[in-house]
Symmetry: C2
Subunit: 123 residues, 2 copies
DNA sequence: AGACGATTTCGACAGCTTGTAGAAGTCAAG
DNA sequence: CTTGACTTCTACAAGCTGTCGAAATCGTCT
């Protein structure tokens, strides 16, 4: 897959949280609002990051509208699942890892996991 | 955590697979044997990588013996679990991620997951 | 003690990624 | 056709990783 830098990650978070595609200017403003650190990035910086994210296959751009609009290709959850599988892929004994992993999740999560497993059992 | 490069990863794999701590020369030989590509790395290369892994907190070195001996700090599984939690940590709705994740694992793994959950249920 | 071989430490450098942006090109509207 | 917004191109500094050579060190053999 592709690991994300801090800024790339922030941009993806904004895109994931937005129902509509966003423009580079939207993102610049949102990023400034986020940090509240008065540190406005140059628009070109945002555009560069967006271009890189596009190359990585994480965002797609609408070139039809004049200020191009950018949207995430897949949901945040799907992306995270990809990361999980990537991490698991490097382990030969997936089950041993899963066992340890289960030990670390909360009771609530364990309960919902059980529920999920049950609902999938039919398949 | 710390992501690993290809060589760093190979070294960690060897250390994880070894019951005994290994020396840089052991590792150089093992690496050459692995690739079978006749490409022997310089020992200093291996030492550099080991120093970096030590700095990252992944391996510990015995300075008491003359050829220093290196061993992994934690098991491969624990490391992988760390990666999983790191990936999950960036997601707000862990359960949505877990749900999608379950959909992608094999039936066997689902079965063992169920078993693990059951065995942990008592806690 | 002195020399020698094995080991380790200290830079060093190239290539890739990420953050950051200026300069220049392009496009639509007036 | 001029202007202002938007995009593309190019660039550069840091940091990470692979890869070593040169130099310092350490144990040992004579």
């Amino acid at each position: 897959m592709a690991s994300l830098g801090d800024l790339e990650r922030s941009v993806m978070d904004l895109l994931w949280d937005s129902a509509e595609p966003l423009t580079a200017n939207d993102l610049r403003d949102d990023l400034a609002a986020l940090g509240a650190d008065a540190k406005e990035l140059a628009v070109t910086t945002v555009l560069t990051v967006l271009a890189r994210l596009e190359k990585k296959g994480l965002v797609e751009r609408e070139r039809s509208t004049r200020p191009h609009r950018y949207a995430a290709c897949s949901s945040r959850e799907d992306h995270t699942v990809g990361l999980l599988n990537e991490a698991l892929g490097t382990a030969q004994d997936r089950e041993a890892v899963l066992a340890r992993f289960i030990g670390g999740i909360t009771a609530d999560e364990a309960a919902s996991l059980r529920a999920i497993l049950d609902s999938v059992k039919s398949a």
